[in-house]
């Protein structure tokens, strides 16, 4: 047997590039985008709230849903003001019991143990909430508007971080900078659209169902889920790039 073409073994493959160049690129891409977000977040949150107000208004009495503004970082931020519904003693207790049962029994799941443990995590948050509202419901320190404020401010922080996180992950990849920049902007747009939809759903849940789910919504379906699609966008691009690089002799270097 003879080999006419021998590519570098994967063990010591590397690409040409420079750590310093990467840092410069990172600064050039992430700083303008983050600054851009910093200057337009009042506009984005206002549009987000107007859409949420339009959608939610049909489910509530006139005046129950309104847009307010607060100061945040360097400018005002817009929020939806809405009343949360406190749970009855029975609802609180039922939530507590169901969560407890899930925590006890889910770890014994024979199949899908990873999913089961994830649900244990969700149940643990809801258990804390259920216990709180069963024992000291009047001590609950938040209103619907507090949650609204928490959500919008977290979203702004997320938008500021997306260019940094995705920039750090994407820029070292051996590909032109433009598609990476487009991808980061796509992730930002996705985050704004998805964030608006989620905002409407969250507000609906705490006002129509109960504020008992406030902790669960924030800790399990908030920024955590944002990272799932950020990683999703990254892996989609990396997979496409890997296919493109297959057999490419010019990209891979060896040792030095």
């Amino acid at each position: 047997m003879s080999k006419s073409v021998i590519y570098y073994h994967r063990a010591y493959r590397k690409i040409t590039g420079s750590g310093w160049l990467f840092l410069i690129e990172l600064a050039l891409v992430t700083l303008p985008l983050s600054l851009f977000i910093l200057f337009i977040y009042p506009f984005i949150t206002e549009q987000m709230c107007r859409i949420a107000e339009t959608v939610l208004s049909s489910y509530y009495l006139p005046g129950a849903v309104e847009v307010i503004r607060q100061s945040f970082i360097i400018d005002d931020v817009f929020l939806i003001s809405i009343r949360g519904t406190h749970p009855s003693a029975l609802v609180s207790f039922v939530n507590f019991i169901i969560s407890l049962a899930l925590i006890i029994f889910l770890p014994y799941a024979k199949r899908g143990k990873n999913i089961a443990i994830f649900f244990v995590f969700l149940a643990a948050i809801n258990l804390a909430s259920g216990l709180f509202f069963t024992l000291i419901p009047l001590e609950f320190p938040y209103s619907g508007i507090d949650f609204s404020e928490l959500y919008v401010k977290t979203e702004i922080c997320m938008w500021l971080f997306i260019p940094i996180i995705l920039g750090m992950a994407l820029l070292p990849l051996p590909a032109p900078i433009l598609p990476k920049l487009i991808l980061i902007m796509f992730a930002l747009m996705y985050s704004v659209i998805f964030g608006t939809l989620r905002y409407i759903i969250f507000l609906f849940v705490i006002s129509k169902l109960s504020v008992i789910y406030m902790a669960l919504l924030f800790f399990a379906f908030g920024p955590l889920i944002d990272f799932v699609y950020i990683v999703g966008i990254y892996c989609f691009y990396t997979s496409r790039l890997a296919k493109k690089l297959k057999g490419s002799e010019n990209v891979w270097k060896w040792l030095y």
């Binding site: 080999k3 990873n114 977290t154 892996c235």
Partner: protein
Amino acid sequence: MEMVVLILKIYLVFTVVVLVGYSIRHFVFTLNRLFFEQRIYYQDIIDSELKSITILIPMHNEEKVARQILDLLVVSAYPYENVGTDAKRILDLLVDADYPHEKLEIIPINDFSSDETRIILDEYAANYPFIKPLHRYEGQRGKPAALNEGMKMAKGEIIIVFDADYLPPRGILKDIAVSFNDPEVGAVMGRVVPVNTRTNLLTRLLDLERTGGYQVDQQARYNMKLIPQYGGTVGGFRKDVVTALGSFDTNILAEDTELTFRLLMKGWKVIYANRAECYEEAPETWNVRSRQIRRWSRGHNQVMFRYLWPLIVSSKLSKKEKFDGLLLLFVYAIPLVLLLALLDSLALFFLGEMQIVAGVFAILFVGAYNTFGNFAPFYQIGIASLLDGATSRVLLLPMLIFNYFFNTWFIAIGFFEAVIDKITGRSATWIKTKRFRKKDGNIIPMRKWPPSSADKKIEVTES
């Protein structure tokens, strides 16, 4: 109450700082592996005087896999015409003899097996003079105890260890053994690659974790002269050194990590051979994986309790090695730190301190645990997959979020077990990882040979 809130806030900030530190560390590893000079291993050394080696294979009820690893090792030593039918089937792929058989000794250690392992080993011993089984039915059970007894029997200067489910490829014995021509090397670790990747989601996700851990993490630590870790299989060490250091501690479940630190404390080098790839069978069910990772956590944390202070005061290690060593020692404690931080943030939430949860810290916290929780952050796994030439498996990266919760849960349990071990001085019981291969099943790795997808481009012509 104000004091409680303050403590809770300080703890949350502390967790964020720790996680950001780990994230930066892994990002530096990623950049180093991708852009910087790669430190080559010793495989280019051509030496007619190869050292004598003894291969130790601890086996407890390994009838499903015993024949396969022995067949593969036999072909490393014997020319084609001298081996049996099973081995010949492998030779069709592996082509030729590799290690001089007069310098090779294989000691499969039957560790209290109740299945057909004993019969299989005796059958091989009858056919091949360099296979010398050790049957153990007395004393302490478990891998460290088995290795200690195997070392007493071993004649080789170098001990190479494989777990029974491994499928060593041609050339790996020489690759591992040749590094011991460097008199400073105390132990060597090769790269572990799952062979049953395509079985289900779990094996695919474990493949991603392994890829990030070896292709980037271990190689970068080797490049940067930090602390590559001896992993207890697909690796070797000097018999006389380890014997002089008191052999393996039978009460430590992570005998590999313990050996790494023991050698480093005595001034020996532990090196990583990314080129020495060996296939393993990854756990195929979450239950088996939970037991495995719990054992790893318990063992690793036992080592952490033992070596934390000696590492800090060691005169044999540089400052950067000590720093990396500390981060390495704490790696199985971090999931518990995160779990406590989650409880902490929940407590802050219900105490009305939403703003600290809402702020930048929340994002850093979530971001860090979404990355670090799987041992290798997503960007590290992405780069590792790219370097491997993998095109599809990287698409599963978002699914690692489920591994995060799973790992956190079972690693935390393992941590508490290690704490109890430390307090009570109780002995740990070795729990073997269940095998999934069909008995007398396919002995040829399911992956294409050679494994790299980029290598598929190699044009092969018959001469």
